[in-house]
């Protein structure tokens, strides 16, 4: 998707739809959101009708990200006047405290919010975010585990947990978390490809064999995913070089070369010649099968 770089001259309608798109797919482009707001949408926010409240919330959170506390403050006041005692506005206030490094006070607000509305999991997630911001990774891991005991089918939390375990360099646990994500949504090619990456990073013939299986499935679901094509190539080459039984060696060499051809014609389609001929170096020659 071509990403325009200059958001100041964009039309009001285009700005509105972009904000809506970013809101829906959770994209984190805070600076551009703030830019869009200041140059385009702030001219006539009331014309958005009811949509202006989620836009205010989005701009407020983006302002925190870009340390624009003044803009965030205005958004919170507007939202406060519109929804006097809403938990969501309270959550924004807590996030403001977070942005200004008052972590303790933010934590107390979140604990209080969790009591009033235990079913809403976004407050618990904010609590974990505070711990992460303070750099207390171990507490964050404990908090997420606690959270997952109740809401155990939340793939976003599992993904975050696997990131944290990776930071602790504990790959087996990260693999476990990714497997949970695959369990929850088996059709998500990103989870499958990431699980393949993790298995490949673990190393060892048996793990790389699993990685290959996951890459194959990821490609089956989303054939244009360059990462899984590369992964398949690496996994097959690894097996071809390290496997002992000749049949497996032969199979993975052909599979590796097939993946390579897939990559090369992807690059030819995009007429970049420089990368394909470097990839050619990775082509495995079919050793004669020694009996």
């Amino acid at each position: 998707m071509v990403c325009e770089n200059d958001w100041t001259q964009v039309s009001f309608e285009h700005g509105r739809t972009t904000l809506k798109k970013w809101r829906e797919c959770g994209v984190r482009r805070s600076e551009e959101v703030v830019e869009l707001w200041e140059h385009v949408i702030s001219r006539a926010p009331t014309s958005l009708g009811d949509e202006q409240w989620p836009v205010y919330e989005q701009v407020c959170i983006a302002a925190f990200d870009c340390t624009r506390v003044d803009l965030a403050q205005d958004c919170i006041e507007l939202l406060q006047s519109q929804f006097p005692d809403s938990n969501r506005v309270l959550k924004l206030k807590a996030m403001q405290l977070e942005a200004t490094e008052h972590f303790e006070r933010a934590l107390t607000i979140y604990d209080q919010l969790v009591e009033t509305d235990p079913n809403n999991n976004s407050y618990r997630k904010r609590r974990v975010a505070v711990l992460l911001a303070q750099g207390k990774r171990l507490e964050a891991i404990k908090a997420i585990n606690e959270y997952l005991k109740i809401f155990l089918n939340d793939s976003e939390a599992w993904l975050q947990l696997s990131e944290l375990y990776l930071l602790e360099n504990d790959i087996p646990k990260a693999v476990h978390c990714l497997e949970e994500c695959v369990l929850i949504s088996p059709l998500n090619s990103m989870f499958l490809r990431r699980l393949g990456d993790l298995r490949y990073t673990q190393g060892g013939l048996e793990n790389v064999d699993l990685a290959r299986a996951y890459y194959e499935r990821a490609i089956k679901i989303n054939s244009t995913d360059l990462r899984s094509q590369y992964g398949l190539l690496l996994a097959n080459n690894f097996i071809a070089n390290n496997s002992r039984n000749p049949a497996e060696k032969k199979k993975s060499t052909t599979a590796g070369n097939a993946a390579l051809d897939g990559l090369v014609d992807r690059y030819q389609k995009v007429n970049s010649t420089e990368i394909p001929n470097t990839l050619e170096k990775l082509r495995l020659v079919q050793q004669p099968t020694r009996n």
Partner: protein
Amino acid sequence: MVKLQVETLPVPYSTIILHCLKYPSNGVLGLLIGQKKGGKITVSSSVPICHEATPLAPSLEIATTLVHSKFGAQIVGVYFANSSANDKSLNPYAIRLAERISSVTNSSAILIQVINDRLMADCEEDRLVAYEKETENWKEAETMFQGANILRGLQAAIQKKLYRDLNDFENHLDNPEIDFYNTNLGKKLASVAELRA
């Protein structure tokens, strides 16, 4: 062992900083290209690789093979920035990548860390700190910093929001047309008046 001198030219210097600014919320990782003459390493260009705090083996392996086949032994090291501002520790993934590079180019690779809290636009000191591998642990090497004109050039680049044109290997993996060597960004940076040292 005399301390290694590391000098980063203006263009790679600003590419590294722009890479951090493009992804303010997470850490970044990239390769350093340059020459090693005696005790002095000059970094002539940098290739941004990824903006994930935990890069995984496959994408790193592919990136190093591609860059190695293009630049050969000119890969001199790795630069990285941690995701949280006050985390000064050396990123384990960057260390492992640097060791992998020194084994591939069989010459000792250096490690450049971006100091996060110096990324403020008005900060005067050098934003990069170089480390070299000393037997088992990483020791700080001596960085040559050309001071003023790099910073003014950097501010001009940030003003023009050039970091939005920067693309790293991850973006390349999302869309093969993207050139992760950032040739045209390098030209733009070179054209920024103040940067011409």
